[in-house]
Subunit: 423 residues, 2 copies
């Protein structure tokens, strides 16, 4: 690829120059570019699958595990789905130019606060080549140039996907440097990207803890970190137990490997004797391994049988698997204290019929998303109606929860007057 | 002070614990605490002035310059003004709990997005001991615990001010650890503060480039940097020249040492012959030293006399003094290109009667605040009607422009349902 020989710094500077043009484009031009990317993915599917085959072969040779190999894989069906996602992003509302706030000052000045693109966003990611296209599409729609830095494992796939996208946007007159890619080789690139102050406005890591740690060690550019999701479902004394059962099963079982899946079930002591046996039975039927405190173990019931004892570290573990920690608590306050101690501020649910408990839980739990009588699995840009997401933030600065088009914007104050000066 | 012997880490953990209590306090309790601080400053003015005298003496011994000595100084009048500012902050609207957005999902879930405190904010600052109180007051009002780290130059003043504030809030039942202070001695503290991930949510540096650089080298916690303000006033071809003259004089002269003062005047060639002589005369009358390009120098006129030649570096310099760079440009596009190259994204003004020029300028200039026919000097939380500010951000993440009460908040999604699970 032509970009490979350029330095990270040069690539970022070109992206920055292109971002100024992009920021001024009409929505229709950006949407044309998105549709051109989707069409180009369809048209170049064979080429992309061919490049992906090289990555897959290298992956087999270096004994990548089955899960990683699956994430790495692109086939015609997956490519068609990626192209459809891009077309869907084209149909979303343009977040740029949205009037956020408007007010008049004492001296007659009109102040309007408008959403504007952040500028240049670097996305660093691992394995999954689909991130190349979906991140690029979200950034383009929100008027941001993107600098992609994937992993060496997916280097062939990413390079071809990025080039296909660059050619596609160039065909409708959008500068190709709006979508830039660095080779994806070594850690030096991470350091080079992480120190592009004044050139790169934000870095979003999409990958495991190792990647985040490596970035944290070097980045001086702002980064939004998406921490792990150690999510809880708390069943209150007044809970509708049918809802409680379906919610804990859904939150644990529906897709255990994702960050908004539940990892710990907390049950109020007043309903523990009734709820624990039925919930554990339902969970066991779905293949969930339970690790419980003494109280919950004693209540498990004959149908569930012997339940493993939870260790202290289980309360802090994001299992990302069919494993659930279970604990009986004394009160809603006790549940809140447990969650605020062990949670990661991602998604927390209470099942209750009590307004007082719900209010206490939603105000006192320190998390991006707090649910009353619903599954934690809804924390997602798509589910929230944002159309898509580029990640899920558990930090409090700038964006918390789903990072979608609005969250990829900054703002600008435009102040209009008729000669006002400060006294 | 009792806190001096504690480690930075212990101080931050205590602040974090206190922040959880603070986040739940009623507005009236927070306002009582603020008024108690103001009263305590009045009541302890002698004690504070005495502590300040020690810092002033040390400052004299180490030959601090006059400007620094002035910033360091507290007297009864300044203390009364600090106390009044705290009382005014008490009267502002509580930013916590504000409903930001509300929507219903396809499945009946009600989603509400509420403003919540960030948690623990560390403010690192230099010399000016008034920052101790005004930062603490803004953080308290917005429900955030503050960890203060001043400079050794103001250590006695800061310690007494913080203790007075801590005692005051404790007297109305607010945990004193809501306002915490580290000794303010060495760079190790900066590193210790900067790495309090999960404990400190945000660091705001209020000081010079050296402080920001030192923080940047060590911080892994999010930081909002307020860059310098290299602000421009551009006089367009159709400008009302009376407005233009009063605005450039105001933007340069009214308070040259602040970040929203103008540093460069750009004049469209079509009005240069008329505007340059009168503007330069008015500026010279106010003691402003001009550094101009060849075109502007040729137009300066007999009343102004010989004008110094601007060097390339003058376009990039925040003079913070009665010095102004002046340049004649070919067009509004030319002005925009100059500003986007040399500006720092703080505050930029166009003087024009043309809607087309105003639109081009406000959309294409990449800055926190863009003015049409008004002085750049209005970029200020107080002037914007926000009541106060803790700084002015020129970065795009989280807060851009004045950082006031709303900008000291994050948000939380509260999602209410009746048993919804994800399909």
């Amino acid at each position: 690829m032509a970009t490979v020989e350029k330095s990270v710094s040069d690539i970022c500077l070109e992206a920055r120059a292109a971002s100024h043009e992009l920021a001024l484009l009409e929505s229709s031009v950006k949407d044309d570019a998105l549709n051109a990317i989707a069409d180009a993915i369809d048209a170049n599917a064979d080429l992309i699958v061919e490049a992906n085959a090289k990555d897959l072969e290298a992956g087999r040779e270096s004994n990548l595990d089955a899960a990683l190999m699956d994430r790495l894989k692109l086939d015609h069906e997956r490519l068609a789905s990626i192209a459809d996602d891009v077309r869907r992003i084209a149909t979303l509302e343009d977040p740029v130019g949205r009037l956020i706030r408007e007010f008049k000052l004492y001296n007659g000045l009109d102040v309007r606060k408008f959403a504007v693109p952040l500028g240049v966003i670097a996305v660093v990611y691992e394995a999954r080549p689909n991130v190349t296209i979906d991140s690029a599409a979200l950034c383009l729609k929100s008027g941001n140039a993107i600098v992609l830095r994937g992993s060496s494992t997916a280097a062939h796939s990413n390079a071809v996907l990025a080039q296909v996208a660059r050619d596609a946007i160039a065909s409708v007159g959008v500068p190709e440097a709006v979508i830039s890619i660095v080779a994806g080789g070594d850690r030096d690139e991470l350091r080079d990207l992480g120190t592009q102050e004044g050139v790169v406005d934000l870095i979003i890591p999409r990958g495991g803890e190792g990647l985040k740690k490596a970035l944290k060690a070097v980045a001086t550019v702002p980064v939004i970190y998406a921490a792990a999701g150690n999510c809880h479902v708390y069943v209150d004394a007044t809970a509708n137990l049918d809802w409680a059962e379906q919610i804990i099963v859904n939150a644990k079982v529906q897709r255990p490997g994702v960050c908004n899946a539940a990892e710990t079930l907390l049950v109020h002591k007043d309903v523990a004797a009734e709820f624990i046996p039925r919930a554990l039975k339902a969970l066991a039927d779905d293949g969930v391994e339970i690790r419980a405190d003494a109280h919950a173990r004693a209540l498990a019931g004959v149908e569930v049988g012997e339940v493993a004892e939870a260790t202290e570290s289980d309360w802090d573990t994001e299992f990302l698997d069919l494993v659930l920690a279970v604990k009986v608590v004394e009160s809603v306050e006790d549940a809140i204290a447990h969650i605020n101690t062990h949670g990661t501020g991602h998604s927390e649910a209470i099942i209750t019929d009590s307004n007082a408990s719900a209010h206490k839980f939603t105000t006192q739990i320190d998390a991006a998303c707090v649910y009353v009588n619903a599954s934690t699995r809804f924390t997602d840009g798509g589910e929230f109606g944002f159309g898509a997401e580029i990640g899920n933030s558990t930090q409090k600065l700038h964006a918390r929860g789903p990072i979608a088009l609005r969250e990829l914007c900054s703002y600008k104050y435009v102040v209009e007057g008729d000669g006002q000066i400060r006294g």
